[in-house]
Subunit: 336 residues, 2 copies
DNA sequence: CTGAAAGCGCTTACAG
DNA sequence: CTGAAAGCGCTTACAG
């Protein structure tokens, strides 16, 4: 490995000057700077990260933990989310540390502690925020910068990105009622998740705006997977009073629900309307293509990282909360 | 931050002893060890990673770069793969560094160089291996340990995991011919990818085993996305001689191909058979459910990490090459 | 069994 | 504009 010493020795100058030249300080002679930069390049020198981190007392790394309910954690939302995090971090010369743990598990807690205490990361990105989320409380207590996708109900300052679910659901339910639907069901996720809370609230507001009386029998919950959506839809379709439309908390749930409907011999779009949320996954290519509230996942991830980096640097944020309006993509799954 | 000094001071012993007690050396008095461990725990002490890395000259971190062809990189294969990498790494107290870059791009090269030169990582996991893959050559040259999913055609020692595609395709084509198919098409990926190479070879062997003459008109290639599969299938279906079955390089491609078939008014399973490869994604819940060659992605990722960690530690490997047989899941998409 | 000390490779006040 | 030196927090030979 080439070190700063090697570069200094070759050039017969001090390591101080090499360091300053490379870091772009303006008190280095133009000539010296150019020579240093060229030589470092030629020698293939890159500063040792551990040494730099130790000295600067920051890791130039941000962390993210995948909420893996099961090992078979196949969800395209997360590949796109991580790609967005990685790209935005790299653009600022930060690294992205990724781990995986079941939400609200001992393993999750252990990772947070290890990262926080060992200062492995300068900050974290949190998603799948829960209503009472110990992670946010812990990070606040540790004074470790973080941003989150969706806010909690805790009395903590919220810095991050939020989807404008209320508006999205007004659009979606409006679309469904305009198609003549009034028995609209909801398949959510665990009720302690902020996305379930918001989407359920949005669902209720949407019904209210259309003057439809809510029916508790049309509300059920699953686990954000196709399998969960499939089972939940079977429950709904087994009831005496069946829904004519189902809105689902995410696309994977909707894909499972469509499967259940097909098995019943229902033609999705004609016999029953089904809609998702996310717009990632293969929603454009399901049979029939899935109506969904599309979110720019890659962009959201980038926004989160850029907010986090400003927090880490102690720079002022343009906005503490960014609100993203999901885009209603109407496809055949809700159009007779 | 609590440091080793704080612990030592509180206990009135040297930092040497604290370090040795915590690291489990056996030349520390049992009593001292217990005291140190308990106190460290109570004080919330975790060794500073940067200091440890600098001193040990290893980062206790492995790296992985997502092959993001486009920002909208939605592929459930990768969420599961990363979950597997993260879990296996964490089980050995290693961290996982993730970045993203388009395959074979300048950005990809830059990340490899930064990680290698700055010793950000002790080793890397490579996938989507290309036939002539500069990454493998570069890492070999840098003497940086790595493992790969699928081998290249380069004259380098291969350490990693390989899917037994030949056997998988014999099973799959056998299944299709037993259903009476003889006009079997193939939708692949970029031909410089090892998976395309292997799957195409497997496809040809499968045809040969069934004494079916290959027809170049039935072979086309896409980009591993649903959209690509959709376009490729349209091309195939627009031809004078249409396929009666299509095998696809991955599930996402197959999902797109099913979409194209449906648009043509073909009933998948009855009018045309379509099969995928991977078994992640929502293949069990597509309409109709998708026949696929299922791979244990999470397990494969774990195997790769464990092999890599042995390489990093200079320990002997049980096997340099692990061969995984994909599991043919026959579903309605290929059964009349 | 325990401790004093060196040193990993940087960055950055400080002096000139 | 440049350099000598301190020190970030560890681990580990070495001495006792």
């Amino acid at each position: 490995m080439t070190t700063i010493k090697d570069v200094a020795k070759l050039l017969n100058i001090s390591i101080t000057t090499v360091s300053r030249a490379l870091d772009g300080y303006d008190d280095v002679a133009q000539e010296t700077r150019e020579l240093v930069i060229r030589t470092a390049q030629e020698m293939g020198y890159t500063p040792n990260r551990a040494a730099r981190q130790l000295r600067k007392q920051r890791s130039e790394t941000i962390g993210y933990i995948l909420p893996t309910d099961k090992p078979q954690f196949a969800d395209a939302f997360y590949s796109e989310f991580i790609a967005g995090l990685g790209d935005a971090a790299a653009a600022s010369n930060f690294d992205l540390l990724v781990s995986a743990a079941p939400p609200d598990s001992a393993a999750e807690k252990a990772i947070y502690q290890r990262w926080a205490q060992g200062r492995k990361v300068d900050g974290l990105v949190v998603n799948r925020t829960r209503l009472q989320d110990w992670r946010l409380q812990y990070l606040s207590g540790q004074k470790l910068p973080f941003v989150s996708l969706e806010r909690s109900l805790l009395p903590l300052e919220f810095i991050g990105v939020e989807t404008d679910i209320a508006q999205g659901y007004l659009d979606l339910i409006g679309h469904l009622t305009s198609q003549g639907h009034s028995r609209i069901a909801y398949i959510g996720a665990a009720p302690d998740l902020k996305i379930d809370h918001d989407r359920y609230t949005g669902y209720r507001s949407g019904l209210e705006a259309a003057s439809i009386a809510p029916d508790p029998a049309l509300v059920t919950r699953a686990d954000l997977t196709p399998e969960g959506g499939y089972q939940a839809a079977i429950r709904l379709l087994n009831q005496a009073t069946q829904p004519s439309a189902i809105v689902c908390v995410n696309d994977l749930t909707a894909i499972g629900a469509m499967h259940a409907a097909h098995e019943r011999g229902l033609k999705v779009g004609r016999d029953i309307a089904i809609a998702g949320f996310d717009g990632v996954a293969d929603s454009a290519h399901t049979q029939p293509p899935l109506t969904t509230l599309d979110q720019p996942v890659y962009t959201i991830a980038g926004l989160l990282v850029n907010m986090l980096l400003k927090l880490i640097d102690g720079k002022p944020l343009d906005e503490h909360q960014v609100r993203i309006k999901p885009n209603l993509l109407i496809r055949a799954s809700t159009v007779g």
